[in-house]
């Protein structure tokens, strides 16, 4: 062990210490061997830690000090929408009447929870311009797959069994093709043109009677609005396919354009991005799906309906794709998103988009002289730079990202989208002040200078973190995925 190593909780164990206070055993106890058959009573105890409550709090406080969140500092991670996570959301989610409900209680005893879900659906229907919404999917990828399963059910119900292919632009997030594959489709890549938008000619070439759907993000992952969206919708619809909107991030278009008005038939949202469910270090999220009327019969069951002022879960859905998740989705995240929407109101959500776009454009213009700007036009909520100028100096985009750590920033998304060389993808969000944006831009400009004058300082970064660059090859070649007591 190195002297600077942070102890594992297992290494703090001392037999005899406890950190719990279980309810009393106030009933007569029987011999466990009389209740559980031979061979089924656990013999070797699970090697869990043995520590006191203060040990636990110090351990996790130490770990939290080795972690960067939005509350720690700027987090311009492109396509992830790392905006401020309002604190009222956390308080509302912890109200006992929301936090401590059992999903299988009688409907009459959970009307408040169902009311919140119903009203959230109504809000999301208006925001997306769709006809119905399900809150069941647990995350974005889960929502994508749910939507594609509905596309499949729709075509199959029409006796249209030859539609086996899903079209996906080359700039798409990797989950799009993965979700299509898990839903049983083949994927076909559609090229981008020199402006970073979907190449309409290529789309016309690949679309056909085997097309089930086109999956599209708009604005796309380069932060550019697909101006030809209506023409694309027409091409896909004329061929009999459905148009799917990856609404992982709606931060660029709220109150400016709605997927439903752009010709989309299905949309998924990540409530943990635009709608401030915290990211939690990788989850939990929530990935509701909105659909147009002709797809409503295929929604996962149950659906939530209102009958005579009562909220009812309707399981009688013969054409439904079935359940995609036990119970009704990640309710706790939906509570947070609902609280956020109600905190913002219509004018607030509009301002969110306007400032998100203003901030991104401002940063793009401040950085365009220091880095290559592959697409010189107004961006939406995020933009991409290329580090290819710095690469010629021997400084890779990865090095630039690591150097940003020394300035106290979480780096932008790097090497994505894959169709831009040495890509740096920056998304500031609307909750950051001009001072923060300026300070970050100054750091980026300084790093570009360092790349020219003193490349080693960038190449060898980070210099100030609790740990240096880690040996990822070793981790993969000789995997150590758990602690084991020696």
């Amino acid at each position: 062990m190195h002297k600077d190593d942070q102890a594992l909780i297992f290494e703090l164990t001392k037999p005899g210490r406890i950190g719990y206070s279980l309810p009393e055993m106030d009933i007569p106890e029987l011999d466990i061997n009389e209740l559980i058959p031979a061979g089924y009573v656990r013999e070797e105890e699970a090697e869990l830690p043995e520590v006191s409550e203060l040990d636990i709090m110090r351990h996790y406080t130490a770990l939290s000090n080795r972690n960067h969140g939005v509350d720690s500092g700027f987090y311009p991670l492109g396509s992830c929408t790392m905006k401020y996570n309002p604190k009222i959301n956390e308080n509302v989610a912890r109200i006992p009447g929301f936090a401590h409900l059992h999903p299988l209680q009688d409907e009459s005893s959970v009307q408040g929870a169902l009311e919140l879900m119903y009203d959230l659906q109504e809000h999301l229907i208006e925001i997306t311009g769709m006809d119905q919404v399900t809150l069941q999917p647990a995350a974005g990828a889960h929502g994508e797959w749910t939507a594609l399963m509905m596309v499949r059910a729709f075509h199959e119900a029409n006796g249209d069994h030859k539609r086996t292919k899903v079209l996906i632009p080359d700039s798409a997030h990797g989950t799009n093709p993965a979700s299509a594959t898990v839903a049983g489709f083949e994927t076909i890549t559609v090229k981008s043109d020199e402006n970073g938008l979907v190449d309409l000619e290529d789309l016309k070439r690949v679309v056909g009677e085997d097309t089930a759907a086109l999956m599209l993000t708009n604005p796309n992952t380069l932060g550019l609005f697909e101006e030809n969206i209506l023409e694309m919708a027409e091409i896909v619809h004329a061929a009999g396919g459905k148009l799917y909107y990856d609404g992982a991030n709606l931060n660029a278009v709220m109150s400016k354009a709605r997927p439903g008005d752009m010709g989309f038939d299905l949309v998924h949202l990540n409530l943990h991005k635009t709608f401030t469910g915290p990211h939690g270090g990788g989850g939990p999220g929530s990935g509701p799906v909105g659909v147009k009327a002709d797809l409503i019969p295929y929604l996962p069951k149950p659906i939530l309906v209102k009958r005579d002022d009562q909220y009812v879960l309707d399981y009688d859905r013969p054409q439904s794709i079935g359940r995609v998740k036990p119970y009704y989705g990640n309710f706790g995240i939906n509570v947070r998103a609902y609280t956020y929407i109600r905190s913002m109101g219509p004018d607030g959500l509009k301002a969110v988009t306007e400032y998100a776009v203003l901030n991104a454009n401002y940063m793009m213009r401040r950085l365009q002289d220091s880095y290559d700007l592959p697409f010189d036009r107004h961006c939406k909520h995020e933009f991409v730079l290329s580090g290819k100028r710095q690469k010629k100096l021997g400084v890779r985009t990865l090095d630039i990202a690591k150097r940003l750590l020394d300035f106290g920033y979480h780096p932008p998304t790097i090497y994505f989208p894959i169709n831009v060389e040495e890509c740096i993808m920056i998304e500031p969000t609307e909750t950051e002040s001009k001072e923060t944006l300026d300070a970050f831009c100054d750091a980026m400009i300084q790093i570009a200078k360092e790349a020219e004058e003193n490349p080693e300082i960038v190449q060898e970064a980070p210099h100030s973190t609790v740990i240096g660059r880690l040996d990822e090859t070793l981790a993969a070649r000789k995997p150590v995925l758990r602690y084991k007591k020696q």
Partner: protein
């Protein structure tokens, strides 16, 4: 528009527009064609102030009968358990909850190490070699297990015990449709998987057999016997398991399970109206590189300091794209942290003590019901749930109980047509003798 989440002032805005070289924010949206432009404002509720919104939502929450003000005997996959108070204090450290997936290890060591510890604890409880960093929930984790099995064995049929959680069964079936996998149910006999039926149904076309332990009726499945039958045909042995029960029961790993999946909600995670909970997924070493989702591994930096990274990422969707065998991306990281803190607080002794307490208290309640003249369906060894027969529809009984601030058990007739008027009762360590006695008394004359 002024709002506490939006820091830009009019002066800021003007300076920024000048730098960009436009006159208004509107110009930045000029690339959105007029034909798809949304003009005006959403027809949604107007914004509320912090205080007013808090009040409205508190009142909305009060329309619900929550488990803090009611005594619950409802389980069926989601349980009212002791939640060490420290869990929420750790969870409220916003360095954890406002962070993204730990893609930058140098500033994410806290999250990465916490997940590494979570993986280790799940391995310990399940008796498996490798566990991932979490799945959405127990149901989707089982679906992933079915898909992994089909890919691994190149077989397209999966057998699932009818004593597996009905909602998990439905989720497995939905996913299976996507992968052209047939899911066939093995009947239960007297509340446990029918071994003779399984012998009849299994052959060399079966990719996996999915068993729940303890099963949906609370019964302890004969894993030893089942394993021999399943592995004789080289099918994968998949066990869905309540990890708390494994504090007292022999873990599935000891019985040769290939995959153990389930939900860690039992460890420090509120029932939360069904989510977010915390799926887990554990396998043998042989399947390490087939595991869906994220894995955290240990390594060193240039100076030999121990550190943690996301590893074996070649399995995952963002690298493999359409070749990926799972599309999971976001998981339940924060809830995995909650479960880790709870497992740590309980520790080696507490997890066993709590599991045993569930067995003892449920057994006490079962005996009490028997003494009252109730018939126990599927009598036999069980964990913290059992089934009683009623003479009245379960829904009606539950409505009566609600008036007494009690939440009754689960109506099995919803899923099993031959189990009308059968109630699945859960008794956890939280229930006191007095609560149990009162509950059994209130159930009075409803016995069949």
């Amino acid at each position: 528009m002024k709002h506490r989440y939006l820091p830009m002032t009019e002066t800021d805005k003007k300076e920024m527009l000048d730098t960009i070289g436009v006159n208004s924010i509107d110009e930045l949206f000029s690339d959105i064609p007029e034909s798809v432009r949304f003009n005006g404002e959403y027809q949604i509720k107007p914004a509320k102030t912090e205080t007013a919104l808090m009040k409205e939502l508190t009142l909305m929450a009060q329309k619900n009968a929550d488990l803090r003000s009611h005594t619950s005997f409802l389980g069926a996959g989601v349980y009212d358990h002791y939640m060490p108070i420290i869990v929420d204090h750790v969870l409220s450290r916003s360095e954890f909850y406002t962070a993204y997936t730990p893609y930058q290890p140098e500033i994410s060591q806290g999250e990465l190490q916490a997940i590494f510890e979570f993986q280790s604890m799940i391995c310990e409880l399940t008796g498996m070699d490798v566990a991932n960093s979490s799945m959405y929930d127990g149901g989707t984790a089982l679906a992933e297990a079915a898909m992994l099995s089909a890919g691994q064995t190149k077989r397209k049929k999966v057998l699932i015990s009818s004593a597996v959680h009905p909602e998990s069964k439905e989720v497995v079936k939905t996913y299976a449709k996507g992968q052209y996998i047939d899911v066939i149910e093995v009947p239960h006999k007297d509340g446990v998987t029918d071994v003779d039926a399984l012998k009849e149904m299994i052959d060399d076309e079966i990719a996996a057999v999915i068993i729940q332990y303890p099963n949906f009726f609370g019964r302890i499945e004969p894993l030893k016997e089942l394993e021999e039958i399943i592995h004789a045909e080289k099918a994968m042995f998949v066990v869905s398991s309540n990890p708390l029960a494994l504090g007292a029961l022999t873990p599935p790993g000891k019985f040769g399970a290939d995959i153990v999946a389930g939900d860690a909600q039992v460890f420090g995670i509120p029932t939360g109206f069904g989510g977010p909970h915390c799926g887990y997924f554990a396998v043998t070493n042989k399947l390490m590189r087939k595991v869906p989702g994220r894995l955290v591994g240990q390594t060193v930096d240039e100076e030999g300091r121990r550190g943690f990274v996301l590893t074996l990422q070649a399995r995952e969707q963002h690298i493999r794209r359409d070749k990926a065998t799972s599309n999971i991306c976001s998981n339940q990281a924060l809830n995995a942290l909650a479960a880790s803190v709870a497992m740590t607080a309980l520790g080696k002794k507490g997890v066993k003590e709590m599991a045993l307490s569930n067995i003892q208290k449920a057994h006490y309640a079962k005996q009490l019901f028997k003494a009252k003249g109730f018939e126990i369906a599927f009598e036999g060894p069980s964990f913290n749930e059992f089934v009683i027969k009623l003479n009245t529809p379960v829904k009606e009984v539950n409505m009566k109980l609600l008036e007494k601030n009690m939440i009754g058990g689960y109506d099995l007739g919803r899923d099993y047509s031959d189990l009308k008027n059968h109630m699945l009762v859960a008794v956890t360590e939280l229930r006191t003798k007095e609560e149990i006695d009162t509950f059994v008394n209130e159930m009075g004359d409803y016995h069949a």
